[in-house]
């Protein structure tokens, strides 16, 4: 928007030569914008959320940094302009005349509209690329994902939200169940997010994955962890009174450590009879239907099953 500073205003009303305000504003702005963008790129960008723990996180970090690069000059332009007007064009005591009657300036208006349109379209193109390239950018794509990671080595993990905890199932390991999310690094992960009761949202902040958990819906999201370490999972959709306490921790380990953990967990759950007791792995579950019993069991409390009867009217104990 560098061009949009020089409205062809008439010369000073008293005939005195006026400084070139447009040029002055432009120079102040260009210096500020340059400094801001350099700071954003070299100082801020490496520390921007959500970090670089996964592929989608890297892309989101880049995306946020690029948007900040574009946003800073725009904001600084507006602020520089208003600051300049506040300093230079204040009303002086005794001067009761009105200002110059400028009703518009076609060229300036067209330039402004064109400039903002270019910025907006560029942001749209960049955002779309950053959405498609990292396989949906870590956002839940619903049951029929359109952007998928390449390769056949996908690790499938099911995330089951319920009031007020997440459970994880690994269908490639006998459908074993874990309350801790463990993932290997450098292997694409396919999350299948679903819920048993109300809408939750699976948010692994450092992995830059967020997908709503809707009952009876399989919401798929992808990412590829890039570094080992711990991360936190939080529910980011209001899901009832203990929403604020619905979080747990996960970790990204090396592939060998992951294999060892997964096999050991599967074996232990098999020996303890947990796998047999669990409902067979499915993309969604209906808590009013218990398949092992071979018949529908509708909860006594109400027709819908989800009608206020998961917890009694008084607050449950602290989880």
């Amino acid at each position: 928007m560098a061009e949009s500073q020089a409205p062809a205003a008439p010369a000073g009303s008293d005939g005195r030569a006026e400084p070139n305000h447009g040029l002055r504003i432009f120079l102040i702005w260009i210096v500020l914008a340059l400094v801001a963008d350099l700071l954003i790129w070299f100082v801020w960008y490496p520390h921007l959320p959500p970090g670089r723990m996964s592929e989608s996180a890297e892309h989101q970090q880049l995306d946020i940094a690029v948007l900040a690069l574009a946003a800073a000059p725009v904001m600084l332009f507006v602020w520089t302009y208003f600051g300049y007007t506040l300093v230079n064009w204040r009303h002086r005591d005794g001067d009761d005349d009105d200002g110059p009657p400028i009703f518009g300036h076609t060229g300036l208006q067209a330039t402004w509209i064109g400039g903002t349109a270019v910025i907006v379209l560029a942001a749209f193109v960049f955002g779309t690329v950053e959405l498609i390239v990292p396989a949906g950018a870590g956002a839940g794509e619903g049951p029929l994902p359109v952007w998928k990671p390449s390769g056949h080595n996908l690790l499938q993990v099911q995330v089951i939200g319920q009031q007020w905890q997440f459970t994880y199932r690994y269908p490639q390991f006998g459908g074993m169940e874990s309350t801790t999310l463990v993932l290997p690094d450098n292997r694409p992960v396919e999350f299948h997010v679903t819920s048993l009761d109300v809408i939750h949202s699976f948010w692994a902040y450092l992995l830059a994955v967020k997908a709503d958990a809707n009952p009876n819906v399989d919401n798929v999201a992808y990412t590829t962890p890039k570094h080992t370490g711990g991360f936190t999972v939080r529910c980011s959709e209001l899901c009832g009174i203990w929403h604020g306490a619905m979080f747990d921790s996960g970790r990204v380990t090396t592939p060998t450590a992951f294999q060892a953990w997964a096999r050991a967990t599967e074996l232990r759950e098999h020996q303890l009879g947990v796998l047999a007791a669990l409902p067979p792995y499915a993309l969604t579950y209906d808590p009013t239907v218990v398949p092992q019993l071979g018949q529908e069991v509708v909860k006594v409390a109400g027709i819908t099953g989800a009608n206020g009867y998961y917890y009694p009217p008084s607050d449950p104990e602290q989880p």
Binding site: G99, G142, V146, G240, T304
Partner: protein, 659 residues
């Protein structure tokens, strides 16, 4: 609230004949707020009894002792009773019985003084003041809930309220602000000033206008009553199936939100019809003040968007009372249906909350720059563009929800396109400021603050419109900071600017300027100090509506909480100023203290009954500052026959076709 107006002048004979013996009754026999309250209480008990009678064999649950059906019916019939007690249906009844209906002016004469502010008044200026006082009460109540939220968030783990109480407070704050503040400008300033600005003696539908106001206290009280029965756990969005699962307090949310939907739909309808049909001769579309343009665009949003909300709330009530399953996935309903219905209303709603602010600042800045509004058509196009686009962006609220991923680029584009017409508003402001003669009065400072705040809010909105960035920001405090910057930083700052700008006209009194400056600076500083850190809190991973958060975010959260208390104190300064200036000191203000060219400033302060002695003939635009030999904005005493001739030759000036 004692607000005098000048002694009423003799009216031209109008309306029908005798008023009847009704007026001879003492005040407590006449329909007003107290009879409305009696009607509401009676209505509630009738509705509750009827609900129990109809639903005795189902729905009452042994576990929770919950029975939604009588409660909803109680609320609905209480509203009918409230309106009946207020006398809303009296004229209708008279017409049905073939009795004469007194003209609005005669009723107003009979109910002079303060009493008319407590009854179903058909005078748009009375309704405007009713709205103003009502909105300030609603805003302060919801603001107190906000401070309760921040009190709880002082500590990440030590709780001063239970988790359910916390969610109740969050829901009350959010819902009250979003549903009631949608009328915060259109109600008081739209209803009061718009007829004055377009040269009309009245609004098109005074009964609808009064009804739209008197529904707001009902919605407010019903929403607040939720506190007595445990609140609702869903926040202002009311997502199903959580809202289907929730306890009785949820019914209050659904009924109140639906009721407020009816109110804003009626208010918008009235404004549209008035602007189209009641403009004075010479008030072409190209001479309409920008504030009126903003009211027209907002009204179209209200009329087109809120029916979807009303429908959504109705379906939700059905799910909760008669056990339908519209939003229950496992029984064939869809939780996405609710999300789509809600946001199809909800996104236009946020522009219902933004556009009036643009209109107000567009009125204020030319006056205090002493320059014409730069790019009048661009400003109008900006508002219309924002309003149109706002219907095509709602799915950006659902980027991570799992619906149709292939639509995401489209909704990213439409959302980002909105920044182009929004940019027009900035172009207009910057052009108007070019070589201006700025007078930094209190209204002007509030207008400047809108441009400052809304820039931050708007730019952060571009981050949210971008799917990859939104994946991290969605549902976090980043979103919360964003919409507080646009709504509070935009609309509420503009609202206060409008109070300082127009209250001298509406009430004929001066607001204390020193307190005004103090209010502005404290509000501006503590608003930014409250909400700017919340962008960082959200980016650092704190989801919305949590009562427990990561310990390392405690310093930021504490900073925000303390700032928010100071922000609350700043609003208190306004309330004190308002009461001090309008009730206690009551220093008279001249008719046009800002030397404005607006038509509303050309009449006495406060405006006389009927606004104009004669229908004025508008001669020039409202922003012709600095134009040599500019004609007066209007001829307030046009020669006899001019107006009627103008109306007779409909199709020229009076219908707004540009000459």
């Amino acid at each position: 609230m004692s607000i005098d107006i000048e002694p009423e002048k003799a009216q031209e004979p109008a309306g029908s004949g005798p008023i009847g013996p009704r007026l001879a009754r003492p005040w407590w026999m006449r329909p007003a707020m107290h009879t409305g309250i009696i009607g509401a209480i009676l209505g509630y008990f009738i509705g509750h009894w009827l609900g129990n009678f109809l639903s005795w064999e189902y729905a009452r649950n042994a576990l929770s002792d919950m029975n939604d059906f009588p409660l909803v019916l109680g609320y609905v019939i209480a509203v009918v009773g409230w309106l009946a007690g207020l006398g809303v249906f009296n004229d209708l009844g008279r017409q049905i019985l073939g009795k004469p209906v007194p003209a609005a002016e005669e009723e107003e004469e009979a109910f002079g003084g303060v009493a008319r502010y407590f009854r179903f008044s058909l005078d748009h200026k009375v309704v405007g003041i009713q709205y103003l006082v009502g909105m300030i009460i609603y805003f302060c109540t919801a603001g107190l809930f906000a401070m309760a939220i921040r009190t709880e968030l002082l500590s990440p783990s030590y709780h001063i309220m239970s988790s359910s109480a916390y969610l109740m407070v969050v829901g009350e704050h959010g819902t009250m602000m979003m549903m009631l503040m949608s009328s915060v400008v259109l109600g008081p300033f739209g209803n009061y000033l718009m007829p004055l600005m377009i040269g009309s003696k009245r609004m098109a539908f005074p009964r609808l206008e009064a009804l739209s106001f008197w529904l707001t206290p009902a919605a407010f009280i019903i929403l607040l009553s939720s506190v007595l029965i445990g609140g609702f756990p869903t926040g202002w969005t009311g997502y199903a199936p959580l809202s289907v699962q929730a306890m009785e307090g949820m019914d209050a949310y659904a009924v109140a939100f639906g009721l407020m939907g009816i109110s804003i739909c009626l208010a918008g309808f009235n404004i549209i019809v008035t602007v189209i049909n009641y403009r004075a001769p010479g008030m072409r579309w190209s001479r309409l003040p920008m504030f009126v343009w903003s009211m027209v665009t907002v009204s179209f949003l209200m009329v087109l968007a809120t029916p979807v909300l009303i429908g959504g709330m109705y379906l939700l009530i059905l799910d909760r009372t008669v056990q339908t399953a519209n939003f229950v996935n496992t029984l064939g309903g869809s939780s996405y249906l609710y999300e789509n219905l809600f946001w199809f209303f909800g996104h236009p709603e946020v522009y219902i909350l933004a556009l009036p602010g643009f209109g107000i600042v567009s009125e204020i800045i030319p006056v205090f720059c002493r320059k014409p509004l730069f790019g009048y058509r661009v400003a109008g196009a900006g508002m219309i563009g924002v309003a149109l686009l706002s219907f095509f962006v709602w799915q950006h609220h659902l980027f991570v929800s799992g619906i149709n991923p292939e639509m995401r680029p489209l909704f990213m584009l439409t959302t980002e396109l909105i920044s182009i017409p929004t940019g027009f508003i900035y172009l207009v402001a910057m052009g108007t400021f070019w070589k201006a003669k700025l007078r930094l009065t209190v209204p002007m400072l509030f207008a400047l603050a809108l441009y400052f705040n809304f820039l931050i809010g708007g730019i952060s909105g571009v981050f949210l419109s971008d799917v990859p960035a939104d994946t991290t920001e969605h549902g976090s405090f980043f979103v919360m900071a964003h919409f507080h910057y646009t709504i509070m930083g935009g609309l509420i700052f503009a609202f206060f600017g409008a109070c300082y700008y127009w209250l001298p006209k509406m009430m004929g009194i001066k607001l204390n300027q020193k307190l005004g400056y103090l209010h502005f600076w404290t509000m501006f500083i503590f608003f930014n100090s409250t909400f700017l850190p919340l962008f960082a809190v959200g980016m650092a991973g704190q989801p919305r509506r949590v009562f427990e958060y990561a310990t390392n975010l405690t310093p930021l959260n504490d900073w925000v909480s303390i700032s928010s208390f100071l922000l609350g104190a700043s609003i208190l300064i306004f309330v004190i100023n308002f009461i001090w200036s309008t009730v206690i000191v009551r220093e008279r203000e001249v008719a046009n203290p800002w030397n404005s060219r607006g038509l509303e400033w050309q009449v006495a302060a406060p405006p006389p009954p009927g606004n104009f002695e004669h229908i004025p003939v508008v001669l020039s635009g409202p922003y012709d500052y600095g134009v040599k030999d500019a004609p007066a904005v209007a001829d307030l005493h046009p020669p006899v026959g001019v107006v009627s001739a103008s109306y007779a030759s409909a199709g020229t000036a009076s219908t707004g076709v540009e000459a």
